[in-house]
Assembly symmetry: C2
Homo-oligomer: 324 residues x 2
């Protein structure tokens, strides 16, 4: 029966007579024989499956189109290469214990924006290849990383607002993202863009904002309130939009708003949301392909892939009201 496998799988130096081969094929068909991929994976220590480590577990996002675009990119790559894609919660737990590989995956696409000291170490010394998304160059594990050009994105946004005449531009980020690498990169990008335009950094304060408890009211009452806000995410921008409506603050007349990630969702809100764009699908596609090529080459690689941002101007930005 060893011969059977040779025939069905790939035989190395094993040769089989034509007649025997035919018999084997026939019997296999009659028995509706189906090779067990789990056993094969076990034996070969190769599962042809990529693990997706994501933080939005149980919820990939209602409001924004981020995850759709992301998955489109990943899947177009995995399916071409005939790799399976597994979305799995346990890996996060594992990584917090300092271990990543549990045998199920040939490689990992790490999309969790926050990583602890333990998980960073686990990623760095992982036996299976890991590629990180949303990881700016610099700090963090020494693996291939994909990120948009946050500096460029923030500069485009600040320039757009400054060109419109805004002087006091705030940046909004929630407490969670403030602690992520990309969060810090965006804050830094915001700071340098503001300074490059000779704007006052103090008046455009950075708000640490709990999504469920927006402080727009108190901010709008303050003397030197910002006339424009740039947010870390689409979702925050939308929270601001609806909160502004509650408070009777008119967007964009009283307040301009720019979001981050420019998906179709930006067209569903009123006013339509001006937003910084990044090529999410392309990034996900490329990252997956890089991961797969590392797996197949069985060699490591480490590089930062930076993608340009754009600015999609819609309806939520305008000249500041004259009284401001």
């Amino acid at each position: 029966m060893a011969v059977s496998k040779v025939l069905h799988g790939k035989g190395a130096n094993v040769r089989v007579g034509a007649e025997t081969a035919e018999t084997i094929r026939r019997v296999a068909r009659e028995l509706r024989y189906q090779p067990n991929r789990l056993a094969r994976s076990f034996r070969e220590q190769k599962t042809h499956t990529i693990g997706l480590v994501f933080s939005h577990f149980g919820r990939i996002g209602d409001l924004d189109g981020y995850f759709s675009a992301f998955l489109n990119g990943v899947m177009s790559a995995t399916f071409q290469s005939e790799y399976g894609l597994t979305i799995c919660p346990n890996l996060v737990k594992l990584s917090n214990k300092g271990v990543l590989n549990d045998g199920r995956f040939d490689g990992l696409l790490w999309c969790k924006p926050d990583y602890t000291v333990q998980s960073a170490e686990a990623i760095g010394k992982s036996e299976i290849p890991v590629v990180m998304m949303h990881a700016p160059a610099g700090e963090g594990p020494d693996v291939p990383r994909f990120c948009c050009d946050n500096d460029l994105g923030l500069r485009l946004a600040v320039d757009h607002l400054a060109d419109l005449g805004h002087r006091r531009i705030g940046f909004v980020i929630d407490a969670f993202n403030e602690s992520t690498a990309e969060g810090r990169a965006r804050i830094e990008g915001y700071r340098s863009a503001i300074q490059a335009r000779g704007l006052d950094l103090d008046s455009g304060q950075i708000l640490s904002w709990q999504i469920d408890r927006p402080e727009l009211a108190s901010m709008m009452r303050s003397e030197h309130r910002p006339t424009a806000l740039i947010t870390f995410s689409e979702r925050q921008a939308v929270t601001i939009l609806s909160e502004a409506k509650n408070l009777g603050v008119s967007v964009p007349d009283d307040l301009s708003v720019i979001g981050f990630d420019s998906t179709t969702f930006c067209d569903t809100v009123r006013p339509r949301l001006t937003a910084i764009s990044q090529p999410i699908e392309q990034m996900a596609h490329d990252a997956t392909n890089v991961l797969i090529s590392i797996i197949e080459a069985e060699q490591s690689a480490s590089r930062s892939f930076i993608y340009p941002c754009g600015l999609d101007i819609r309806e939520s930005t305008a000249r500041p009201a004259s009284r401001c």
Copy 2:
């Protein structure tokens, strides 16, 4: 070393001394021992992973929010139960050969709307549990099936249009979906709704429509052209909207349009799209939970789960122009 496993996994009737146990734990920590889940799965013939069989492989959809909602539902269930979710292309190939189980999955969520004779047979006699989405009661394999109430959805749409004064209402479906079970169910629902309102079925003809080659122009030129169209999907509705714009046909003044699936995307198009809704996320969540409970109970079950449709009236429907 057999004892080691007993400690780390779950021991049945095996007892271990406290001292030995402590030693084992310590050594395991020192060696950074990580149980191999692949081996465990192989041994136990249980992977704690669900396979997702989907047709939109390589592309989960740009325009519609269907897949996002669907995955939200599936993932909220899998993550609660600590199941992995694998999106895998090979299963479709397998099913066409009449086999489904290749050892990797404990159960299958079948979301492919079209199934061949072979795959239907494979689903029916599968050794692992299968739950089907978008499968109306009636024909097809004898497994639990989840579907919206297409009759109700079409009735709501037809009633809405008839109430507005429309007499000639067409139903649009593409060649592919026409051959799916749900496609036929919607056509049937459309037919009975039209007849229930005493409308002429012949004038409201069913268009078999290639998405890439819309025939709206010739349809609009015909004598008894429909004043309203109901489409099988969101996507088709949007194609019609843009085609109508090209032709100078005004929606909703010259033509009312109703889509199927009412996601946020309906708000992004102009005019905003009136659409039949179904609780996609809830259905996906429930279907996944049913699948998991069958897996864990290790018993089969077969039932049809029907979910009500709604109608979200937006801007693409209005009274027919008086000249019609």
